[in-house]
């Protein structure tokens, strides 16, 4: 298995996913969901992982957390290095210790992600009592602090409320407070704003950005919304069919995408300066993961596709500025800014 080039030299990263392979074994067959994902995260930075549904963003995150459901999901290869040590070789008990204290995660739909029958104060405090060994009184005090930190109004009064008594935005704040309880160094936010109203989305994104800065965490922001990413992320990794197809600094990527898929995504955003014209879309559908096309998995949908794309899987090409693109014609796409 070829190890794709990394835009920064290995070693020294806080979190590093190397050539990760995950498959789902189902009755219908084996779906190759993650096919060699490689990305890294340094202290205090924000990495956005972008891609459409089924591209493997969440599965990669759950593999990092070690919370994949096995069966059906099986990690078939690769490494997940946290502070230089491969998490995949550690025991379940060791991995459990990492969850929450080192790497924490928040999920898309806070209503179903929170336990419906327990008060939110109890759920936030649970980590403090169970993991940090705090007394009830201490945990309660700290819980109120955490709820204040995520800007839940009248936190002390809302400790005893249940998740369904909160609005969507407040629920997501509860989720965030819960994830922050044990001072994690890495926070993985899996589409934290997808289920929310646009105005609330902005508030949550601002909150995450502020918290990341104030607490010095590193943030992995998983999203399918390019608009969400622009203001917050340092770097972007674009995923397609279980691979990172493009990896670049935010500004570089927005200025000139070097992968046809990224280019298609950017062109499909409605823009105020191009009113009247039809919105462009990426034709076709994402591949069936049980039967990924030979060669470049994007070739059936790609306007740049040529014979080589049908025959050869493109490796990551390193472009100027250390950015990478898994496209045979990366330079051409990058230079072709007319579209």
């Amino acid at each position: 298995m070829p190890t794709p080039a990394s835009p920064t030299p290995p070693g020294g990263h806080l979190l590093e996913v190397r050539d990760l392979h995950v498959e789902f074994r189902t009755r219908e067959g084996v779906a190759r969901v993650i096919n060699g994902v490689t990305y890294h995260l340094d202290r205090g930075e924000t990495l956005a992982v972008l891609g459409e549904s089924g591209s493997g963003k969440s599965v990669t995150a759950q593999a990092i957390m070690g919370i994949l459901d096995t069966p059906p999901a099986y990690v078939r290869g690769g490494q997940i290095r946290y502070r230089g040590r491969d998490l995949l070789t550690r025991s379940e008990e060791e991995r459990r210790q990492v969850r929450g204290t080192e790497i924490a995660m928040i999920f898309q739909d806070a209503l179903s992600a929170l336990n419906p029958v327990f008060p939110v104060g109890w759920q936030i405090g649970e980590s403090l009592r169970q993991r940090a060994g705090m007394s009830r009184a201490d945990a309660r005090r700290r819980t109120v602090e955490l709820m204040d930190l995520v800007r839940i109004p009248a936190a002390a009064k809302r400790l005893g409320d249940h998740p369904h008594q909160f609005s969507g935005g407040m629920r997501q704040r509860v989720m965030i407070a819960m994830a922050l309880a044990l001072d994690p160094k890495v926070l993985i936010a899996d589409e934290p704003t997808t289920a929310l109203d646009v105005t609330v989305q902005a508030q949550i994104m601002d909150l995450l950005a502020d918290l990341r800065r104030d607490l010095g965490m590193a943030l992995v922001l998983i999203t399918h919304d390019l608009g969400v990413v622009a203001g917050v992320a340092d770097r972007i990794a674009v995923m397609y069919a279980g691979r990172i197809v493009e990896h670049a600094d935010v500004h570089a990527l927005y200025r000139a995408p070097a992968h046809p898929y990224t280019k298609g995504l950017l062109e499909s955003i409605p823009r105020l300066d191009r009113r009247g014209g039809a919105l462009s879309t990426i034709r076709g559908l994402p591949p069936n993961l049980m039967d990924i096309p030979a060669g470049c998995p994007f070739h059936p949908r790609c306007p740049y596709a040529r014979q080589v794309c049908l025959d050869e899987v493109p490796h990551d090409l390193v472009l100027a500025g250390g950015r990478t693109s898994a496209c045979h014609f990366a330079q051409e796409v990058h230079d072709d800014r007319a579209g």
């Binding site: 459990r96 204290t101 179903s112 992600a113 169970q130 369904h164 989720m175």
Partner: protein
């Protein structure tokens, strides 16, 4: 919540009048001559006939007479007087003797259900598709498929007569030991249902999103299953158990009959067999109240268990 309970209590009053009226009407509609029925095969003298007609208000005839007697009966009921059975005993006394026995039996059945049904359901769900899961599936289907009228005599014969581990019948003033086998037989059906229900509920909840969240918090699996999953899974199970306890409290005609247990079901059956109208109506009236109360308790319990439920 309080308003909900009050409204339900009002509905209960209506339901109580409705059901007692129907039972009262059905029980006395089919009777030819109640006085002759009372006397059985013996002849009734004119004086006796006059006395009994007076006593049971049989002089008023037709629909008017029926309602007169029904209202008269209800009046007694509200004063706590269930009246006399045709055998001349106070129905209140009969119930006072029978109910504790039935309650004991019901509690044994319920304990068996919770102890084995719920526990086995949880284990089957955690080890889904394992040997235990398949074994319990077969066993529960078997139990659910055999009616009590077959199961009770089988248990009595094998565990009471062939290998006398338990006393085969209970008799008057039954001991705890004598009620054990009937309790297990009675509980086996709810046990099987509780097991299936628990298994399904736990399986569903193990797949819930909040389980993934709990795992991401680094909680131990024991805690995730024992606290997060169980608390959610037991909502439908407890509801079922509540209704089931109401059922069991109202007596088990077949089980009490087979094992000769002088409980409510046993007396009810005897009343039906001997066409003892006052006894049947008396017992059923009280059963209706027990049943309605059990259902109210279940509804309230449901709201307590699931904070998302709000009664207005």
């Amino acid at each position: 919540m309080l308003r909900f309970i009050l409204r339900r209590l009002l509905q209960m009053v209506l339901a109580f009048f409705g059901t007692t009226l129907i039972v009262y009407a059905l029980m006395f509609a089919g009777q030819g001559d109640p006085i002759q029925a009372l006397a059985g095969e013996r002849p009734v003298t004119a004086a006796q006939r006059a006395y009994l007609t007076e006593k049971y208000h049989l002089d008023a005839t037709g629909v008017g007479g029926f309602f007169y007697r029904y209202v008269n009966y209800l009046g007694g009921l509200l004063r706590g007087d269930l009246g006399q059975s045709l055998t001349g005993r106070q129905i209140g006394d009969i119930l006072a003797a029978a109910w504790p026995v039935t309650v004991k039996l019901a509690l044994i059945a319920m304990a068996v259900t919770v102890l084995f049904g719920v526990t086995a359901g949880v284990i089957a769900a955690i080890r889904r598709s394992g040997v235990f899961d398949h074994a319990t599936l077969v066993l529960t289907l078997l139990v659910l498929g055999i009616p009590t009228i077959v199961l009770a005599p089988l248990a009595q014969y094998f565990l009471g007569v062939r290998w006398p581990i338990f006393p085969p019948t209970a008799g008057a003033q039954p001991s705890f030991r004598a009620l054990l086998l009937p309790g297990i037989v009675l509980g086996s059906l709810s046990l099987a249902t509780a097991l299936r229900l628990t298994r399904t509920s736990v399986t569903e909840n193990l797949r819930a999103d909040y389980v993934r969240t709990a795992r991401s918090k680094g909680l131990m699996r024991r805690r995730i299953v024992g606290v997060h999953v169980l608390r959610n899974s037991l909502i439908p199970v407890v509801t079922f158990l509540g209704v089931e306890l109401g059922n069991l409290m109202s007596g088990a005609i077949i089980t009490e009959g087979v094992f000769n247990i002088p409980g409510v079901g046993f007396n009810l059956f005897r009343g039906i067999r001997t066409e003892d109208g006052p006894l049947v109506v008396g017992i059923v009236s009280v059963l209706v109240v027990v049943y309605l109360l059990a259902n109210l308790v279940v509804d309230v319990l449901y709201a307590v268990l699931d904070p998302r439920i709000r009664y207005e």
